[in-house]
Symmetry: C2
Subunit: 351 residues, 2 copies
Amino acid sequence: MTNDSELSFTCPIPHAAGANITMAHGGGGSVMNRLIEQIFRSAFDNEFLNQRHDAARLPLDAKYLAFTTDSYVVQPLIFPGGDIGSLAVHGTVNDLAMAGARPRYLSAGFILEEGLETDLLERIVASMGRAATAAGVKIVTGDTKVIDRRGNDGLFINTAGVGIIEHDLVIAPQSVQPGDALLVNGDLGRHGIAIMAVREGLEFETTIESDSASVAGAVLALLDAGIEIHCLRDLTRGGLVSTANEIAEAAGRTIHFTESAIPVRDDVRGACELLGFDPLYVANEGRFAAFINPAHAERALAILRQHAQDTEPACIGYVTDEAIPRVTLESAIGATRILDMLSGEQLPRIC
Amino acid sequence: MTNDSELSFTCPIPHAAGANITMAHGGGGSVMNRLIEQIFRSAFDNEFLNQRHDAARLPLDAKYLAFTTDSYVVQPLIFPGGDIGSLAVHGTVNDLAMAGARPRYLSAGFILEEGLETDLLERIVASMGRAATAAGVKIVTGDTKVIDRRGNDGLFINTAGVGIIEHDLVIAPQSVQPGDALLVNGDLGRHGIAIMAVREGLEFETTIESDSASVAGAVLALLDAGIEIHCLRDLTRGGLVSTANEIAEAAGRTIHFTESAIPVRDDVRGACELLGFDPLYVANEGRFAAFINPAHAERALAILRQHAQDTEPACIGYVTDEAIPRVTLESAIGATRILDMLSGEQLPRIC
C-alpha cells in the first residue's frame, strides 16, 4: 500500500487468530504498518505497490486515460457468488471497460470499523487480490482508515481505476444513433436478488449467485473485432431500465425493448415476484448494455457468447428514430408501454 | 460525477432548505441524480466531469503517471482552518506531489450517512471544489453511496489522484544518501492540535488553525529550480517522527534532528503539553519533509519561503553516514536520544 504512513517494518509474526481491528490500525503507527504488511501487501503484491511511496509511479503508453471511482458499502459483506472485495474490483474494472478502456491500475481505500474480525478482512482482501489478477489489473496504491464501532458494517472499500484508451471511438450516449442494436451480455437481475435473498433470509431450491464479474475481456474482444460500438453501460444500481433511461435522456432518443427477448432466469423471476421487484430494475454487477451498429449485431453476439459463462447474451431492443427521450417495452402480448426511472429506494446497499 | 447511474435529468428545483440525505440518495434513481446535478456537478464543473460517463476520458502528456488514494474520516467534519472536503483535496494532491508529480485529476467517492443535512454536504462539496481549483486539479469522476444512520459520522470521502511525472529523478526513500539535508516547509503539529482542540472543547487565546493546504506548488518550484531532491514525504498521520522512522527503515540510514531547529509554534507547544502530545508525532496536512543534496539546501529554503504562508521553513537535520535505520534527536541541552515510532493510538480520525 502506498499511503501516508506505509513504509513498513517487516514483521514475521502472523496476527493472532480471532484478532479484531482496533483504532490503532488506522493511527499511522507500527500497528497499522503490520496490518498493511501482513494482509494487504501479500494479497496485492506487485512491483508498483512495492515502491511503498505516497503515490505509485506507473508507466503509460497511451494518449488517453480513463479514470473512474466507486465506493462499496454492500451488506452482507459476503454473498453467494462474491463478496465486497471482488465486487470492488469488478465494479471499477467494468466502469473502465464502459469507456472502452483497457483496465490497468486500481487504488484501494479501506475504511474499517473498529471490531472487524481480522480473519474476515484477510478473506475479503485475498478475494480482491484474486479478482484483480483475473481481471488483468494491479492494485498499486492504497489507504487504510479505522472508524469507531457503531453498527455492524465491518468495512467500506473504495476503488479508483485507471485504464488506457487505445481506440478512436467516442463511446458515449451522444454517439447513440437511430437503428442502433441494443445487446446485453447475459441474463439480468442476479446480483440484486442474490443480495436480497440473503438479507431476507430466503432459501430457494438452488442458490441464486451474483453475476459479479469483470466484463473487460468481452468489451476488449468487441473492440478488437472492429465492432462499431456507440455506447456501453454497465447495468448496476437501478438495473437495465434506469440505465436505459439515462442514456435515452442523454442521447435524446427512444430506446425500445422487446420483453420476450430480455434474458431473465426463471429462479430470478420467481424471487422477484416473491420480493416485489421488477427484474428489469434490479442491479447486476457483470452485465452491460452495448449500443452498436446493427450490421454488426450478429458478429457481436457471437463474440459475447465466447465470453459468457452460464448465461446467454441477447439482442433485446433497438434505438428508434423518434427524438423523444424515453424507454418503451413491447410486452409478450404485443402491448407497448413506457418504462420510467424509479426514484431510487428500491434496493439500497447492493453495491 | 461519472458513476454507475449518473446521467441526469436537469432539475431546476433547488433542494428544500433543511433537507436531509435519505437512502434513496444512494439508490441509483432520479433522487440520486438530482443530488449529483444540484450539489456535485455545480461545485466541480469541468469539461471532463461533464462527459457524464462511467469513466472520464482524459488526455495525457507524460510517459509516467503518479496514482494515489486516501479516504477521509476526520471528526469533526468542519474544523478551524478547513473541513473534510478541502482536506480530501489537499491530502491526495500532496501525496501526488510527494512523488514529484504535477497533480492533474481527482476522483471523489462519497459515502453519506442517512440523515446528513444537505446544506452541510453542499458546504463541504463547495469547499472541495474551491480547494481543487486552488491546487490546480480537476475533479473528473465520482460516486455516491448512502449508508444507514447509526452514528453521527455524516460522511466519508475518498479521493484518488492522478498526476504526471515530468522529471527523471527517482524520488523515493531508496534515493536518500548520507549527508542529505532534511528540510521542512513550515511549523509542525497544527492540524492534529486544531482537530483535538475542537474535540476536547478547548479554547486558547487564539484559535489554532489547521495547516491543511496543497504543497504541490512548493514541490514543483523546487523541481523547476533543479534542486536535487532525493525523497519527499508529507508529515501526516504519526507526524514528523513516524515519517522519519519509515524513511530511515526503508533507506537503512540514521536520520538526525536538531531539536532547536524544528519549528513548532508556542501555542501548539502549549496545547500539546495540555493534551499530553509530543508535537513531533502530531499530524500535519500541509507540511512535508524534503531530503535533498546539502549543497542545494540554502537555495531550496529560499524557494520554500516563497511558498510559505504565515510560517517559516527550516533545515531541521540530516542523514548521517551510519547504516543503522533509526531516528535520533539532539536536544536543546545537547543530549542525543532515539525517537521511536509509536504503535498508533495517539490521534485517531484526524484525517
